[in-house]
């Protein structure tokens, strides 16, 4: 086990501003602070080589958790241990083994070409010339980004900059990699490339990766295990496919009819989502699907029928909606 988190909590004190002129004046002299629990008593463990996805809506506490794990934030209470280190001590041996990519933060020297940041990074992490050249070559190959390292960072597109950010964070081959919204703002092609890259990196170096993302596709494609978090609490921790079964005991049935039908007649099978001739969509309980479908097929003239698991995104929405 490389990461262990026990009863981690992190509170922020947030300044509340009142609106209006009188409110403005009031807050000038008398400030109200409110304590917000960003992370509320969470515990989990992660084994070496695992690729774990953190999912949750904005402000759920994903990023705060990552920041606590990487030693950037001091937890209000609880204990975190990464590779046997307390991250907050910021020991050199610990820092050399971790990497953090923040999709919305820039660590590159803005006015200089990325290669200048790389060289500084090489010196900071005391990477030998040969290893530096090899790793840089590999990373640039994987990301197909050889030709942009000498262009000033400010002139790069968001996607190109993201590639450079990732190279910077991976030059020292971190054993543990924290990726905070790595695909944010990227186009679909670039997102896909990045996903493939993360997968390959995980396989090649057996590194442990923790990833947060808004995009379900990221998580679906990359992570076997997910940790669902909302309001600072863990709602689910386990295999992604089980999440679907646990939170959505229904299947999606889409039927295309030959003739117009009365949608009300199908409520006995399950929940009718919508009907627009010729297509009917309904949710049917997993264990009732086969009997319902054979009944429908014998009673109606059906052109086409489609049975599938609900979209993960819908399931997640259900989880967060508290349904």
């Amino acid at each position: 086990m490389v990461i262990s988190v026990k009863n981690l909590s992190k509170e922020y004190s947030v300044f509340q501003k009142e609106t209006g002129l009188s409110g403005n004046l009031k807050s000038l002299f008398n400030r109200k602070y409110e304590t917000v629990k960003a992370v509320d008593d969470i515990s989990f463990e992660i084994e070496e080589g695992e690729l774990v996805g953190f999912i949750g809506p904005n402000g759920a506490g994903k990023t705060t958790t990552l920041k606590c794990l990487s030693g950037v934030l001091y937890p209000s209470s609880g204990k975190t241990e990464i590779l046997g280190f307390n991250p907050n001590e910021r020991k050199k041996a610990f820092l050399k083994q971790i990497g953090l990519v923040m999709g919305q933060k820039n660590q590159l020297w803005w006015d200089l070409p990325a290669v200048d940041t790389f060289i500084l990074q090489k010196e900071i992490y005391e990477i030998s010339d040969s290893r530096y050249n090899k790793t840089l070559g590999d990373l640039l190959d994987l990301l197909d980004a050889k030709d942009i390292i000498k262009i000033p960072v400010k002139k790069l597109s968001l996607g190109q900059r993201m590639k450079m950010e990732i190279v910077t964070s991976l030059l020292h081959n971190p054993k543990i990699l924290f990726l905070d919204e790595p695909t944010i703002g990227l186009d679909v092609v670039m997102q896909q490339k990045l996903r493939e890259f993360i997968k390959e990196y995980n396989n090649k170096y057996q590194s442990t990766i923790l990833l947060t993302s808004h995009y379900m596709n990221d998580v679906e494609e990359l992570c076997k295990r997910v940790i669902v978090i909302n309001h600072g609490k863990i709602l689910y921790d386990g295999v992604l496919s089980n999440l679907v079964h646990e939170y959505s005991p229904y299947k999606n049935i889409r039927i295309t009819f030959k003739d117009n039908v009365e949608p009300n007649k199908f409520t006995k099978f399950g929940e009718v989502e919508k009907y627009a001739y010729p297509q009917l969509e309904l949710f049917i309980k997993r264990d009732e699907v086969s009997s319902a479908v054979s009944k429908i097929l014998s009673d109606y003239e059906v052109e086409d029928i489609n049975i599938e698991d609900p979209e993960i995104e819908d399931v997640i929405r259900k989880v967060f909606g508290g349904e």
């Binding site: 953090l100 933060k105 020297w109 200089l112 060289i119 010196e123 992490y125 000033p152």
Partner: protein, 264 residues
Amino acid sequence: MKKYFWVAKNTWEETLTYRFNFLMWRIRTVVLLLSVYFLWHSVIPEGSRLFGYTQNMMLTYILLTSITNAFVISTRTHEIGDEINSGDLSNFLIKPINYFLYWFWKDIGDKAMNIVFSIAELTILFFILRPPVFIQTDFTFLSLFCISIFLAIVLYFFVNILLGMIGFWSPEVWAPRFIFSIILGFFAGNYFPLDILPNTVFKIFEALPFSYLIYFPIKIYLGQIGLPEILNGFLLMVLWIGIFFIFVQVVWRKGLKAYTAQGR
């Protein structure tokens, strides 16, 4: 150590990308210097003496403030407050790098650029104005001058770090900075040597750390303070550095606990 050299080099190159900005900044410095220069030029006519200063001593003092400022006062540390507030500090916290040394070397890169410009400006002014300057030839005073400059750089650096760390607790990092730079110009002796002030006022100034940043080194260069006073001054500077160093460590530790890594 090599990593810090690269920090300085990158800072140097960063400044070069804003050449025009930097040039304007230097022009502002030269205009300020010239206005103080001509003021004293007319206040003390050639051959006369005022507050114990001959014209050439006073003008040498004023011209030397340029190079002393380049060495001691030029800094990039005013960005620290914003770095903390924007959450960019996180980028450094996850790296095996000493944040203070990082900034110290960033400052060295910035100072190097300012020194080059200051020397070039003074050379040009020297040929245009042909000022009656005093050249110190005594090796002892010159080396003591160098030591005082070094101590002043370290002292001012810690003061700046402390000001930057206000960012841990307040987003309003610019107002304190602004006030500070105004006070500094006056208290450090940028416009006149502090010993022309009434003795009681001067004693107060001497007790504060500011006077050791500009006034004290230049006075050493001019050979106007004796060896015991110089050593006494060095001792006080080391003491101030010690106090600020400890203060910085304490505030840094407290600051990291208060740090919220804001900005998403």
